[in-house]
Symmetry: C2
Subunit: 347 residues, 2 copies
C-alpha cells in the first residue's frame, strides 16, 4: 500500500509500505478514507522532536472496515468507522475508568511498528474497543469532516473544557487558536459557558472562534493579553482556562488569567514549560488534562455532530489527496491552513 | 501584651508588644486562649525561609472577643471565636467564590505588621467575616483542641481531600504523617473514602492515622513506597492522592502512585519541587490545592466536631504555656511532637 512517511524535517512523502494484515484475532484492517494532519505532527516536521526516517505518520482517520479477526464481534466488513488517535483494549482498569490513552495494552498509531493514519490502510488492534461505527450512510462532505475531527481535535478540545471544569454559565478563556483551541471554544459553548474569551490575532481564526461561540476576542499576547482579560473580567480572572498550545508563554498566560480556585485544562503537548507552582499554591489554581481519551468522548460528541448541533469540521480549511501530503504539512506549518484534510480514498 | 517573636533560627521567645487596639470600625480585638504551632512555622524556625527578627509568629488561635469596632455587628464582647489562619473581608469576588485566602483586602497573621497568633491578643480585621463564633459553652478540653484545629490543620487536610476529588468509595493515599496529613486522612474518611493508605514510618502516627480512618499503612519511602502502593492497588494506583509535605520527594511519590485521570490534592507548601509535567500530560494526572480557604470550611467541619463525629484535636500531643513557646517549637522540630498546643490563657 501507499502511505506517508517522515523523510527528514520538512519532508513528508508517500512511500510503499506492506499491506496491513490481521495479526491478532481482535484486529481489524481499515481502508482509510479521510485523514488529517495534527498540530502535534508539526513538532517532528519542524525537527523539534526526534522522528525516525521512513517511519509512517498520522493518527487521525476515518475509514471502511476491510477485514476483521475471528474474535471481532461488533464490526463488519464495509462498516464506516472513526479511529481515535490511540487504540485501547476497553477492558483494563484505566479503560474502564475512561482513560483509554493509558490503556495497559494500548498504544498510538505510527508508534512501535504500527501503521500511521496518513496512508491507505491501518491494522487496528482491539478493533471492537477502539473503533466507533458511524450510523447511517450518505453523509455529506461537511458531515464527514466533522466526524473526522472526533478522532482527535474535537475530543481534545472537549477534554480541555472538561478538565478545566467548564459548566453552564462559566466564563472561559481559550489560549490557542489552532484547530484544538477552536474546538475547545466550541466545546465550552456546548457545555453551556456563558462567556468565551478566545485569544487570537488571526482574522480568519477570530471569525471561526466567534462562529463557534467565542463572545470576546483578545488579540494581544503575553502580559498585554493578561491585562486585557483581567479588564474584561473586572480584575477577577476567568472560571476556567483551556490551554491548547503547550509553550512556556501560553502556559504562563493561562495561569495569569485564571481566577483563584479555578482550573487550567491543558491539552497542548508541553514543550519548555515551567509550572508556576508558587502561584498555583498561593492562588489555588489547579491544572488537569493531557493526552485526551477521545475514544471515551466519541459517542456523546458524535450524537451532536450527527444532529448538526456542532460542526467542528470547519477547522479543516485545506484539502488535498495523499500525493499532496507534503503540501498538507507545509500549509499548516506556514499557518496558511488551520488544519489539513487528506482525502485518501473516495467512499 | 506578651507575644512570641522570632529572634533567630532555633530561637522563638516571648517579648513585650503593643496592646492591640481597634483601628478600623470593622476590627475586633481577640484575647487569645489557645494557640498552636504549625508545621509551616518550622520553615523559618529552621532558617529555611527568611524571617525578620522581632517579628511576631503564629497563625492559629481561638480566643475571646475583647473589643469590637463600631461596624461589627455579629460579634460581641465575650464571644468565643475561631480565627482562620487568614483574615478576609467576606465580600470580594474571591471571598464570595469561597477562596478567602485570595481576598483582595485580606492577609495573614504576623505579616505586614499584623499581630501573630502566638501571643496574648490579636487585632482582627473584617471581624464579622473572619471570625467564627463557637456555639455553646463549657466545652471540654478535648473539644477545644479539636475546635482549635479548624483554624488551620483540619481545614487544610480537608482542602487536600476536596482538591483531590475524594468521594464516597474512593481509594486514597495520604503522603505525609504530620498534623495536616493525619487530618487529611480523617477528612478523607469523613468524605466516605473506602480505602485510605497512609504513608508513615512513625508508630505513634501510624496508630493515630489508623484511628482517624487509615485502612493501610505504608512505612516505605520513595520508590519502595510507590511499589508498595501499586501492589496494594493491583498496579492501578489510587483515585486521589493527598500531598501534605511539599518536598520534591513527597511530590514525586504523589504523582507516581496516582492512577491515570486522577488528582493530586496538594497542601504542603512547596519547597524544591519540580512538577513532572510530562507524566501529568501522558497519564492525565492533575493537581489542585494550595493555601486552604479554611474560613469557608469552618462551619461544616465545626458541626462535625461539636457532634463528636470527628476529633482532629488528637493531633495536638504536646502542651505548654506561652512561656514554653520555645519548647513548643523544639518538640515539633525534633519530631517529639506531632503538633504543639500553646495554652495562652485559661477561659
Amino acid at each position: 500500500m501507499r502511505a506517508a512517511v517522515f523523510v527528514e524535517p520538512g519532508r513528508i512523502e508517500v512511500a510503499e509500505r506492506p499491506d496491513p494484515q490481521i495479526v491478532q484475532p481482535t484486529d481489524a484492517v481499515v481502508r482509510v478514507a479521510l485523514a488529517c494532519v495534527c498540530g502535534s505532527d508539526l513538532w517532528f516536521y519542524r525537527g523539534q522532536t526526534p522522528y525516525e526516517s521512513d517511519r509512517p505518520v498520522g493518527h487521525e482517520f476515518i475509514g471502511i472496515v476491510e477485514d476483521v479477526g475471528s474474535q471481532v464481534g461488533g464490526l463488519h466488513k464495509g462498516d464506516l468507522v472513526i479511529a481515535p488517535f490511540a487504540y485501547s483494549d476497553g477492558t483494563c482498569p484505566h479503560c474502564r475508568a475512561g482513560i483509554t490513552t493509558s490503556c495497559l495494552h494500548g498504544g498510538f498509531w505510527a508508534y512501535g511498528g504500527m501503521d500511521g493514519g496518513q496512508g491507505e490502510a491501518v491494522r487496528v488492534p482491539f478493533a471492537d474497543a477502539t473503533l466507533v461505527p458511524i450510523p447511517g450512510s450518505g453523509h455529506s462532505a461537511e458531515m464527514m469532516r466533522s466526524l473526522l475531527t472526533l478522532s482527535d481535535v474535537m475530543g481534545t478540545g472537549h477534554h480541555a473544557a472538561v478538565s478545566a471544569g467548564v459548566t453552564r454559565g462559566s466564563t472561559v478563556a481559550v489560549v490557542g487558536d489552532g484547530a484544538v483551541g477552536l474546538c475547545a471554544a466550541l466545546a465550552a459553548a456546548r457545555l453551556g459557558a456563558e462567556r468565551i474569551i478566545a485569544l487570537s490575532r488571526n482574522p480568519a481564526r477570530q471569525a471561526l472562534a466567534g462562529e463557534f461561540g467565542a463572545t470576546d476576542i483578545v488579540a494581544e499576547r503575553g502580559e498585554a493579553a493578561t491585562e486585557a482579560i483581567m479588564a474584561l473580567t473586572n480584575g477577577v480572572g476567568v472560571d476556567a482556562t483551556l490551554e491548547c498550545v503547550g509553550t512556556g508563554q501560553s502556559m504562563a498566560t493561562a495561569f495569569a488569567i485564571t481566577r483563584p480556585g479555578a482550573m487550567v485544562g491543558f491539552v497542548g503537548v508541553p514543550h519548555g514549560v515551567e509550572v508556576p507552582l508558587q502561584t498555583m499554591f498561593s492562588r489555588n489554581i489547579g491544572m488537569h488534562g493531557g493526552s485526551a481519551s477521545v475514544r471515551t468522548y466519541i459517542p456523546e460528541l458524535m450524537e451532536d455532530v450527527l444532529a448538526r448541533r456542532i460542526d467542528p469540521g470547519r477547522v479543516l480549511d485545506f484539502e488535498t489527496d495523499l500525493d499532496g501530503i507534503g503540501e498538507a504539512y507545509a500549509a499548516m506549518d506556514q499557518r496558511r491552513a488551520i488544519k489539513s484534510l487528506v482525502r485518501v480514498a473516495s467512499i
